[in-house]
Amino acid sequence: MSIFIDRTDRVLVQGITGSEGSFWTRHMMDLGTQVVVGVTPGKEGQNVEGVPVYHTIRRAVSDRPANAAMLFVPPRNTRDAVFEALDSGIKKIVTIADGIPLQDAIQIRKAALSCGARVVGGNTSGVISPGFAMMGMFPYWIERVYKPGRIGVMTRSGSLTNEVTAMVVRAGFGVSSLIGVGGDPVPGTRFAEMLPDYQADPATDAVVIIGELGGTMEEEVAEAMLSGAFTKPVVAFLGGRTAPAGKRMGHAGAIVTGGKGSVADKIEAFEKAGALVADRPRMVGELLRQALGSTPRK
């Protein structure tokens, strides 16, 4: 059981002939993901890992229908690639691109919202349900991080995901589904928008939120908890408590603006909503035990 992506999804890979595209296509398939078709303009007739390549999505899906698109496309071409996928009616899109122009990101999210599609990213490793399937670039073979289990994880940071998820696994738990919403100021999908999926997922007992300073995504999760829309336990880990004001020292999204988005604000919102907040990566495992009882469910 997983959310966003499972083995029944038929995935199209944009930019499949590039080095990252072909490398991660193989790993997505090795994990069990159904990659059915690839697209790279000018490369029709080739195949990558046995997956046929077409010039355009329109040509690709007329031969081999797909319901999800994985983009290995440079940031400056990402808007074009996302709109191409939306144009063919694809509703699940993941883009790893790091460096999407800000105003393009606004257009991408607006388009996704208006046609009921979900775009995850950019600036993310993607989405994975360990043991089942993934869209993205996760070294799922590193067992001490990507062990299957019953904890949902949502994160703004790829590097921090490994760090924190390793602590979840060390505490005896594993991961049900991990959604990397990405570190950009305008992610295509926000934390709170994935909560209904985790709420409905019988394979998820609790959710770990890996957040950081800047923006209001963490506060939106707290609001969903307070309103009763999300009722499973939440453990939050937040980076940037001691970050100096005004310096952009991490993700573009990680800067305090408009008087909103400090880590202190986020902790206050989470605690008011009943989430447990870890101040060090190691504490995440301990707090999960506290939230769920001492023995992890198998």
């Binding site: 490793s125 070294p139 926000r190 940037g240």
Partner: protein, 383 residues
């Protein structure tokens, strides 16, 4: 990339936004000449990227040509200017105003729109005001594709309490600001203060952009001319050198130099160093596309003469074994005198451990342990 005030005002003027009469100067003689041409009193403003110029003594209302020349000398060759790296000054006519407004355009990430913020109390710290009196801030969301419509500008104008005539000018001005936001791929355009001038003999007042801030989205640089920013946009030579390499770099004034991979992890390592009572000298992003640049990254770390170099990575695409090889090469070439604490994990980490050991390091696997060791070593070096 944040532009200088004179560049922002140029962009504003090109799009029909009223700005004060002004001249850009690089010598004290030019400052005196500008004061003569514009008339005194006039305002002499240092062109630096930091905020709070007024408090730092970098902006001054001068009452005579002599005073303009004297202040110009202090800024462009004297102690005040040198300390702040002043290379250019803007001389502007002094504007007699009766009100100061605030106006900006940025994005609303949740609604996926642009967002205009306006306030009748300009000239103040808007972030502070947003916190203490959020009801005073007027917000108008603008569809990025449809663009700003006149009714939205009118909504704001009347909410600001402008009269009929000024409201019309405001609509034109805001249209110009919108055009600037879109044309320049800005993440922020801001006019603070936006002056409402004192009424003239006919009882007519006008709007003039007193200051201008224009921050261009770095990710859009490729379609904004793509020029590499020159030295004047950076605080230090090291920051400039790092930017040329495409390596994110920040300088602080502590003991430990961070070479970390990943923005999120770096932010947390910074937190952990502070929790343990340590302090950070500088930070270099040693991940993503830079993971093969260990030698250059360590060279830049050493410029600040840190007590310890702390390397923390958890690389997947940026492979641990290749990062470790880079570190070994950097140690061989640069022979740093300070100790190095390395915690390099991820793809190929078994091989990375061997490489680091061969280079004389004692590799760790736990971030918190690595931070503790670095802080202890830094304190030892200090004692």
């Amino acid at each position: 990339m944040k532009l200088f005030e004179y560049q922002a005002k140029e962009a504003f003027a090109e799009r029909g936004i009223p700005v004060p009469r002004r001249r850009l100067c690089t010598t004290a003689d030019e400052v005196a000449g500008a004061a003569t041409a514009l008339g005194c009193p006039c305002v002499v403003k240092s062109q630096v990227l930091r905020g709070g110029r007024g408090k730092a003594g970098l902006v001054k209302l001068v009452r005579s040509i002599d005073e303009a020349r004297k202040y110009g000398t202090e800024l462009l060759g004297g102690a005040i200017g040198t300390a702040h790296g002043v290379k250019k000054v803007l001389v502007e006519e002094a504007v007699a105003f009766e009100r100061e407004l605030y106006l900006s355009i940025t994005v609303d990430p949740q609604a996926a729109t642009a967002l205009i913020l306006a306030c009748a109390d300009g000239g103040v710290e808007i972030e502070e005001l947003a916190r203490t009196a959020p009801e005073k801030i007027i917000r108008e969301r603008v569809d990025i594709d449809t663009g700003l419509l006149p009714f939205q500008a009118r909504n704001i104008a009347y909410a600001l309490g402008l009269d009929q005539k000024l409201s019309q000018s405001f609509v034109t001005l805001l249209m110009g600001l919108w055009k600037t936001f879109r044309d320049k791929d800005a993440e922020l355009v801001e006019v603070n203060p936006l002056f409402v001038t004192r009424a003239d003999a006919q009882g007519v007042s006008a709007l003039i952009a007193g200051d201008g801030k224009l921050v261009i989205d770095d990710n859009s640089a490729f379609r904004q001319g793509g020029a590499q920013p020159s030295r004047e946009y950076f605080d230090s030579d090291v920051a400039f050198e790092a930017a040329k390499e495409g390596i994110p770099y920040l300088q602080f004034d502590g003991d430990i130099s961070l070479m970390c991979a990943g923005a999120g992890l770096t932010t947390v390592v910074y937190d952990l160093v502070n929790y343990e009572g340590g302090s950070v000298a500088n930070y270099l992003e040693f991940g993503g596309p830079n993971y093969k640049k260990a030698v250059r990254a360590m060279e830049l770390c050493l410029v600040n003469d840190p007590k310890v170099i702390l390397i923390v990575t958890f690389g997947t695409i940026a492979r641990a074994d290749i990062m470790a090889e880079g570190i070994a090469e950097a140690i061989a070439k640069l022979r740093p005198r300070c100790p190095i604490v390395a915690c390099i994990r991820g793809t190929g980490e078994e091989k990375a451990v061997e490489t680091l050991k061969a280079a004389g390091l004692d590799p760790l696997f736990d971030t918190e342990e690595a931070v503790r060791r670095a802080v202890v070593l830094a304190k030892g070096a200090r004692a």
